[in-house]
């Protein structure tokens, strides 16, 4: 068993004589530093009895020597002397922690920086949207062909791949609405109005809203992460140097895909929710499917459908733009990619719900009830 670092001291006329022994290394240090602190004025630090020393041991000795200017270091082997020499120079200017400021200063600073950051973000996203519109117009004016290949690839990932999860989710939501609605309406003997509830809620609001949330989570985040990684690997810069506009090559296809696919996905989700509600109505309320469909045709106004179709592309643009914008904001390191991706999803979902509220008020005020 290797010996722990240890020392003994005898008091002399001009201070204590400290004799170290054992292994003066990080692993075998024990409580030696604390004990050494307690020794009074030291005149000699004797290293002749130690078995081994490493930089930490040498640092303890150097530190003691610096605290007791009268102390001499004796008996150091060549190995120990090399370490002592390496550590001898003054290290006091080397800082380990950033300067700490009072709490209230940091709180104020945090508040200020985050306010400015939110404002910058808002300006940035509007500017980005503008730059994208400019790119669209230049593309149209220059009669350049759209990058259909890129757009169609996105169709696959944004749309087709999302069908199973969106379908299943909407189907289940349909069942839940029907079931919860039926429980309440039963009290008035109006179970049959469950159909109204499911039909109108799915077409007008829920189908599209759930789709938007899912697309923001699936594709908005993917846009941000992909573009963010491309920024880190300097692919975006490489594109610029070659003369390809990243706005045209990366952003437009993604935003186009999410914009064009949102109405389709939203409609699909609504239908799935209605099917879910229908299944519950059939099984739970014993309303036959034919009656269910007949009733849906009577109660859902066309305006509900138009409202959905108007909202859908707007949500699509929003999700695409926030995703791409966040990706483009990535600088520095990989951690930023994660942060920006989260920010993209949160911003997209938040903005979608805010806009949805505006749309709801707008549509009822123009009489689309």
């Amino acid at each position: 068993m290797a010996a722990w670092a240890d020392f003994e001291h005898s008091d002399g006329a001009d201070g204590a004589e400290v004799r170290f022994s054992g292994r003066l290394t990080l692993a075998r240090l024990g409580d030696l530093p604390a004990r050494l602190e307690e020794v009074g004025p030291i005149s000699t630090l004797d290293l002749s009895q130690i078995q081994r020393i490493d930089t930490v041991g040498a640092w303890i000795v150097t530190r003691a020597a610096a605290q007791h200017p009268a102390a001499r270091i004796v008996g150091a082997s060549d190995e120990a002397q090399r370490l002592l020499d390496a550590l001898a120079s003054d290290k006091s200017e080397y800082r380990v922690h950033a300067d700490r400021r009072p709490v209230w200063v940091r709180m104020l600073e945090q508040l200020g920086t985050s306010s400015v950051a939110i404002w910058d973000e808002l300006i940035g996203i509007i500017g980005f949207f503008g730059a994208m519109l400019v790119a669209v117009f230049t593309q149209i004016r220059a009669r350049r062909r759209l990058r259909w290949n890129a757009i169609v690839t996105r169709f696959q990932t944004v749309g087709v791949d999302a069908l199973p999860i969106i379908g299943l989710m909407s189907f289940l939501i349909g069942i839940v609405i029907a079931q919860q609605g039926a429980v309440q309406l039963e009290q008035f003997g109006l179970e049959v109005f469950t159909i109204n509830l499911v039909g109108r809620a799915s077409i007008r609001e829920l189908g599209l809203l759930m789709t938007a949330i899912m697309v923001a989570g699936r594709s908005g985040s993917a846009f941000a992460a992909q573009i963010g990684t491309m920024k880190l690997t300097e692919e975006v810069d490489a594109m610029r140097t070659i003369g390809v506009s990243p706005m045209e090559a990366i952003v437009l296809p993604r935003v186009a895909a999410s914009t064009l696919l949102m109405p389709l996905l939203g409609f699909y989700a609504s239908i799935c929710a209605i099917i879910g509600g229908g299944v519950f109505a059939w099984v739970g309320l014993e309303i036959p499917p034919l009656t269910y469909i007949q009733r849906l045709r009577e109660i859902i106004p066309m305006t509900d459908f138009w409202a959905m179709l108007i909202k859908a592309p707007v949500f699509g643009v929003l999700i695409g733009v926030t995703g791409c914008y966040s990706g483009m904001q990535v600088r520095q390191n990989a951690e930023e990619v994660g942060r920006r991706t989260t920010a993209a999803v949160v911003a997209a979902i938040f903005l979608v719900i805010v806009l949805d509220a505006f749309f709801a008020v707008f549509f009822s005020s123009i009489g689309w009830n």
Partner: protein, 273 residues
């Protein structure tokens, strides 16, 4: 408790015996043997894709070999059942990865303190800070580097910070994966000097993977050449030059090899101690 490893009692720090590494159909190593002696700086060279990094990963236990055995200070990581024992082995080595692999959410000083805190949770904060400060100084980082985050550092500083973290526990064994890759010639030369200096001061055994011929001439005691899925030759550079193997001849006598050698002779630094 088991006896602690005492690196100074070993003449051979690393012994690799009949190592085989296979990924699917691709055989990277086939019956590879290698010995690293205590106290030497061993350079490992080889063409791209000859498995230099895989060899290092096999030695430090990041890659389980298909066959063969790897002993570090007489212990094999695969067969160590005792957690205590494997920790004891792991704290004997420091690894500097190619990209530095600094933890990006921690400052340089905190990065250096991570291994210290992990293995010696009872060290007080003051001593931890002092250790971090002198390690920062030892690897030649500027005094204000400690509180900085990796993203704020230049490429050369990241490498130095990575080296400081690798040296945090005062290991006996140091693994360096392409330490000078991506550095400018001046920075690379300084880094070579630093490695040599630290190895001498701290009595390190160094396993150094490199592409850099200047590094080989400036720092390494011996060089191991990886080719044909094994180590085809180990020795000092003059010894290697005496072998007939075409790859070795191409490597050291190619245009770059010659200029590194000429430059080295001109400056008169000794290739061997």
């Amino acid at each position: 408790m088991a006896e602690f490893i005492q690196p100074e009692n070993f003449d051979v720090a690393i012994r690799v015996n009949g190592l085989v590494n296979r990924f699917g159909d691709a055989v990277v190593h086939d019956n590879l043997d290698l010995e690293v002696h205590s106290g030497e700086i061993l350079g490992v060279v080889g063409g791209s894709g000859t498995g230099k990094s895989v060899l290092m990963r096999s030695i430090i236990g990041l890659q389980t070999p298909t066959a063969g055995e790897v002993e570090v200070y007489g212990k094999t990581l695969d067969t160590i059942a005792d957690e205590e024992e494997s920790r004891d082995l792991r704290r004997r080595w420091g690894v500097m990865f190619q990209g530095g692999a600094l933890f990006s959410t921690l400052t340089v000083a905190e990065n250096i303190q991570v291994p210290l805190r992990e293995y010696y949770p009872r060290l007080d904060q003051k001593l931890l800070d002092e250790i971090a400060a002198y390690k920062v100084a030892m690897v030649g980082l500027p005094p204000d580097a400690g509180p900085k985050y990796p993203a704020e550092l230049s490429g050369g500083m990241v490498k130095r910070a990575g080296l400081a973290r690798a040296l945090a526990l005062d290991p006996a064994l140091l693994f360096l994966d392409e330490p000078t890759a991506g550095l400018d010639p001046i920075g690379a030369a300084k880094f070579d000097e630093l490695i040599r200096e630290l190895a001498d001061t701290m009595g390190l055994t160094v396993f150094l993977i490199t592409h850099d011929l200047d590094t080989l001439y400036a720092t390494c005691d011996r060089v191991a050449v990886l080719a044909e899925k094994r180590v085809i030759a180990v020795g000092t550079i003059p010894e290697l030059l005496a072998t007939e193997h075409p790859w070795i001849q191409d490597y050291f006598n190619g245009p770059r090899g010659r200029s590194a050698a000429d430059c080295h002779e001109a400056h008169g630094a000794a290739p061997e101690r």
